[in-house]
Symmetry: C2
Subunit: 345 residues, 2 copies
DNA sequence: TTGAAAGCGTTACCAG
DNA sequence: CTGGTAACGCTTTCAA
């Protein structure tokens, strides 16, 4: 491997071009409006000849700008979140920013990430989290250091942060309403991990929609669909639902993968989707598109885009008021939902 | 938003502690072995009191170490690759490195990423790519700048890079051999995107295995399974295979998602998997675990881990010889493969 | 055991 | 229009 010979600096360029360091700096930074054509060209040629690239670290020391933003992925494993990374990186780069990524498995990781980002002088931080309740005390440190911070899907309790969330409650509410409009009266819900706020919000939306449409709440229609656990649990839950004296004609699963298992299990009992039973997922994972799953879309990718925009905006104007944005979860109607069997000819 | 008040520096700490800057620096860097206990404690207290964190940018200027490595995701979209990001970030952080991530959609993006990484003085770069042939000329620039570089799944032609690849050829070879050992004689292969090297390698493994086991090569057993295209194409391919005068008893799909569609299509024709037909995927995507798919595992996550190790090693010892590592693609036998119908009682 | 001073590579600010 | 020169915050000799 080639040894790190003396790296070429702005000084070398200046010397070779027979101009001062300042002049080269001006060329580099486009302050060449009032510069003599020949000097400009000469300097540019020498820069090109040596493939000289300024040391941004040195630049950062003075400008106090690092053109870097930090992204903390907190307890994130699902492909959907990772996809939004693509979008975030892209938007950031378009605006001239690089992305420092850190994957925080737990609270300790998160604190460590924040420290590192702080030391590396990031200009802003985006947190992309699951909706589990988290200790937010280290966010205070970011505030003290005046580092703009955007919280995505964290449902932070403080109004002192820019936030992007999505409306899990109305997502499920709308799904129930849609199923009701198709004629369903027996609608079951598989519930996700208990600790997540999203689970509670969805349950709330479910109950509210039942009430609004004069449908009774039956607790046996609520079954475990914890997507962080084993698929066998979801199978069991589905079988329990199907063997009920009054089995549901529609099942809202806790996510798309759970929905896939539900569909599979339903088929194993000789029933057809959506003829005998409708299934609706949550997520809208692209890689499952072959299922043509009706699903409640989580606007995670859009949230990422918005988060970057908000962050860039705040970096530019630190004093605008904080914003809390809540996105809708649109219902995507595909081929796993339809009218219940009774109403069919 | 709080205005960026004067940030606290090493100078402030030194002043308040009544010691010199150097002393604080020594405390910070653990060179406190020969330091008087009381000074050490006093300085540490003041550091803690102000929650002072040294500016790594300034440190980097002198030490020429940024504790940052760059990760270029080239044309990567699949969840599997993104998962390896987790591992890479984790290993890197454990070794004290941060990850600067860039998603390169095309060659232009890649060049731009390299430039940025170079300017930001990363200490090493990992390329995580699809196996499509790429222009590698910009990699030369990294070499000139003495930035250690690891190529993952790039099958670079130069022996002047550390590389991690996996053996697509033997992966498919072993799958065919396994199916043959179960009694299958009619084995079809769905082929991926033509431009990818992996597609060619898999085809090669397929042909070699047929030859080795005295099975005839039938070109009608080769159908389009381009996973970058529409699932309908895979459905069509599957139907073509099933309607052949001598339909295959086993299908090796181009990836796990394609396999899922194949299974679905097979079932639609009233056949059962694996009773009537065996299906084997490629990837071993975690989120499809509910399918219990027999599959050729791509060791992408492990490749990521190894890539980081190689990189850290080379950063530490720049002069060791370049290594090209090729990982096996283990065959994971689950529930979608079994003996062909003829041999069953 | 501690401190003073010389950089690291760049930008910013004035003078000329 | 161009060139000196003082920062930026830290590490690293080397001297005391």
């Amino acid at each position: 491997m080639k040894r790190p010979g003396k790296a070429i600096t702005i000084k070398d360029i200046a010397q070779e071009a027979g101009v001062s360091i300042s002049t080269v700096s001006n060329v580099l930074n486009g302050n060449s409006a009032e510069m003599r054509e020949d000097t400009l060209v000469r300097v540019q040629q020498i820069i090109a000849k040596h493939q000289y690239r300024p040391n941004r670290i040195a630049r950062s020391m003075i400008t106090r700008r690092t053109a870097t933003i930090g992204l903390v992925l907190a307890e994130i494993e699902t492909p959907l979140f990772l996809q939004s990374l693509n979008v975030i990186e892209r938007s950031a780069r378009l605006a001239g920013f690089n992305l420092l990524v850190s994957h925080a498995r737990d609270a300790k990781d998160e604190v460590q990430s924040v420290d590192l980002f702080l030391e590396k002088q990031v200009e802003g931080v985006i947190f992309l989290s699951t909706s589990e309740r988290k200790d937010d005390s280290h966010l205070e440190r970011l505030r003290e250091a005046c580092v703009p911070t955007i919280l995505v899907n964290r449902f932070g309790r403080s109004a002192h942060h820019d936030q992007v969330n999505w409306d899990n409650r109305s997502g499920v509410y709308n799904a129930v309403e849609y199923l009701r409009s198709l004629g369903h009266q027996e609608i079951a819900l598989l519930t996700g991990p208990k600790k997540r706020l999203s689970t509670q919000q969805r349950l709330e939306g479910y109950k509210q929609a039942l009430t609004a449409h004069n449908l009774p709440f039956r607790k046996e229609y609520l079954q475990n669909g914890d997507y962080t656990e084993d698929p066998d649990n979801w199978r069991t839950s589905t079988r329990i639902l199907l063997s009920l004296p009054r089995p549901p004609t529609a099942i809202i699963a806790s996510d798309d993968i759970v929905a896939a298992v539900v569909i599979e299990t339903v088929r194993e009992t000789g029933r057809y989707v959506p003829r005998d039973i409708s299934v609706i997922g949550i997520d809208d994972q692209a890689f499952l598109s072959f299922l043509s799953l009706s699903t409640i879309q989580l606007p995670i990718v859009e949230a990422g885009r918005i988060a970057v925009d908000m962050l860039l905006r705040r970096i530019a104007e630190p004093d605008i008021p904080y914003r809390q944005i809540t996105l809708d979860c649109p219902l995507i109607k595909r081929r796993t939902s339809g009218p219940p069997p009774e109403t069919q000819p």
